[in-house]
């Protein structure tokens, strides 16, 4: 079939769980995925079926790829960081080593990498920090300065594994309750840090509210901002149109699918205020 571009390297497979460990309030799970790993870039995600054939949960759950390792002892693998929250994520977190899950990936757009070395800031909230560590590594290899800022409601919810810190020039933590790092919302700390580090490109991943706040700051400083957004996804492969975010368009508003035109998008293009969108519909 000619010129098929969408979901270009996606495949569906039964992936074996090769490790599943608690990491604070998260589970860090590793899957053997063979050649899929080679096609996975920071920002891509996978979609996993939940609970077997007789399940009443019929939709896949999307998870950002925390890290993809092309060649290891077990062949290619990908790692996910999962917050056990509802039925789907709890089921996944309770998988044992040796279990298989039905997985589709890699999906979605990845973070764009600057062609010249630049000062970058990576901002993550909650499990949103997951894809940023692999990104940091890529950026560092390109010669970029990488400053990482991670926020959460409380200290224990910050996901920042030791080995992830290797690639960053600085790591700043913020917590809403002051239990670690700077006291307050992540967005309050950022303007000062941007000035301090001379940030030229922002990458962000986390709750939509946080991304919106970061987008506003990026706009004020007039620096480029790539963010990985989230929206309820039914299919993950572009066929259902549930996962859209509104972006600016000559005609007013255009809804784009974040599973194929995202999750990584240009923060300055997104219409963050729901009210602005409703006015246009």
């Amino acid at each position: 079939m000619s010129t098929q571009k969408i979901n270009k390297s996606a495949m569906q497979m039964q992936a074996e769980v090769i490790s599943n460990k608690k990491a604070g309030p998260y589970n860090h799970i590793v899957f053997a995925v063979g050649e899929m790993a080679a096609n996975s870039r920071p920002g891509n995600f996978v979609a996993i079926s939940i609970d077997g054939e007789a399940s009443s949960l019929i939709l896949r759950r999307a998870f950002a790829i925390y890290r993809a390792t092309d060649k290891g002892v077990m062949g290619g693998s990908i790692e996910l960081v999962i917050a056990p929250y509802g039925q789907g994520s709890k089921w996944l977190c309770s998988r044992n080593v040796g279990d298989f899950v039905d997985l589709v990936g890699p999906l979605g757009t990845s973070f764009g990498i600057p062609t010249t070395n630049a000062n970058t800031m990576l901002i993550g909230g909650g499990y949103g920090s997951a894809p940023l560590f692999a990104l940091a590594e890529v950026l560092k290899n390109r010669g970029c300065r990488v400053d990482m800022v991670l926020g959460a409601s409380t200290a224990s919810k910050i996901y920042a594994p030791l080995e992830g810190k290797r690639s960053v020039s600085s790591l700043t933590l913020t917590t809403d309750d002051g239990s670690a790092g700077i006291h307050g919302q992540i967005s309050e700390a950022i303007p000062r840090l941007i000035r301090e580090f001379g940030t030229e490109v922002i990458y962000s991943c986390g709750p939509m509210g946080m991304l919106a706040a970061v987008a506003k700051i990026a706009d004020e400083f007039d620096i480029s901002h790539q963010c990985a957004v989230e929206e309820a996804m039914a299919c993950g492969i572009g066929v259902c149109m549930t996962c859209v975010v509104p972006i600016k368009d000559p005609s007013g508003v255009k809804m784009v699918r974040i599973c194929i035109d995202g999750p990584v998008m240009d923060g300055s293009q997104i219409i963050w205020d729901k009210k602005d969108v409703l006015d246009h519909l």
């Binding site: 996606a10 569906q12 019929i58 939709l59 309820a232 492969i237 066929v239 549930t242 508003v253 519909l281």
Partner: protein, 310 residues
């Protein structure tokens, strides 16, 4: 065991096999092409297209429900011009059989859409979606009343000309689906598509508000299969000569066979493609194996078999 003749017909058009995609569940096809060759399917039914580009509803647009889901897309799409310019050529070039689904806000719009399609080469049928629940007011669901349903079908028939089969897609949310079906058949459709989604709602007990931005949405998936089977059975019983494209919660070959036995001449795969990108292909293979195992040589012998003696 001789080979199975797996072909089926809707009006004057023949399809290699009876497994289609459901409108709105395969976008315009390209997205699925990574997972299997689309030419393996009987046809791709494209997402309902309107005259103008349409933004659709705000998010959240979906909510998972037990063995099902709600969607409230609101017919987002590029409009007929961009669709004919970009999406159709790719499908035709790749030799994919296409059924174009159309939707309008007024009877006239359906006529306009039909006229735009009349000159388009390479499409196999038009599915007239008069049953989308995701519109601002239920009055717009033309399939709710025989009069409005007939008005739309007549506008399409007048404008489309030629041989292109017309399929009317009906809603199960009516008191008497056989009456609606009969009225559109009298108005000249060549086939029926049964069923569109059921109107439903989920309330998020955390926020204590409806979960979907559009409040209500369309219920699809295995949960609704018994309603689909019932609708297909009733309509096939009343109108045995009208081909039915059946759909509603089909996720494996057994499910597809159930709809065929009830009276479907083809089976569209909707929500199952969300759980499994290769669902349609897999269902086609399972259905073929099941039919062969039961000794059918011709798929068409199985259509409506549950109505006849064994």
């Amino acid at each position: 065991m001789s080979a199975l003749d797996f072909s089926t017909k809707i009006g004057s058009k023949r399809f290699n096999n009876p497994i289609f995609t459901a409108s709105g569940c395969a976008s315009s096809g390209q997205e699925l092409a990574q997972f299997f060759p689309l030419t393996e399917l009987g046809a791709i039914v494209t997402k309902s297209i309107m005259t103008k580009p349409r933004t659709g509803r705000p998010t959240p647009r979906m909510a998972e429900t037990p063995s099902g889901m709600l969607n409230s897309i609101g017919l987002q799409g590029p409009g007929i011009d961009a669709f004919l310019e970009k999406d159709i050529p790719w499908l035709v070039e790749n030799k994919v059989k296409v059924i174009v689904s159309i939707a309008g806000e007024t009877v006239d719009e359906y006529g306009v859409l039909a006229r735009r399609l009349r000159a388009v080469a390479g499409i196999s049928a038009v599915e007239v979606n008069i049953s989308c629940p995701n519109v601002e007011n239920r009055g717009q669901v033309f399939a709710c009343h025989p009069d409005s349903a007939v008005a739309v079908i007549e506008a399409v028939r007048r404008n489309i000309g030629g041989e292109l089969p017309i399929v009317a897609k009906l809603s199960p949310d009516v008191t008497d689906i056989v009456a609606i079906a009969s009225s559109v058949v009298n108005a000249g459709v060549d086939g029926l598509a049964l069923i569109n989604t059921l109107l439903g709602m989920v309330i998020d007990t955390n926020t204590m508000k409806p979960k979907l931005a559009g409040k209500t949405g369309g219920l699809s998936g295995p949960a609704i299969r018994p309603v689909a089977v019932r609708a297909i059975y009733q309509v096939h019983q009343a109108l045995p000569n009208i081909p039915i494209i059946g759909m509603g919660g089909v996720s494996n070959g057994r499910d597809a066979l159930e709809l065929v036995l009830a009276g479907a001449s083809a089976v569209s795969i909707g929500t199952a493609s969300f759980s499994n990108p290769t669902a349609a292909l897999f269902i086609k293979n399972e259905l073929s194996a099941l039919l062969t195992g039961k000794g059918f040589n011709d798929f068409r012998d199985a259509i409506g078999f549950a109505h006849r003696g064994v």
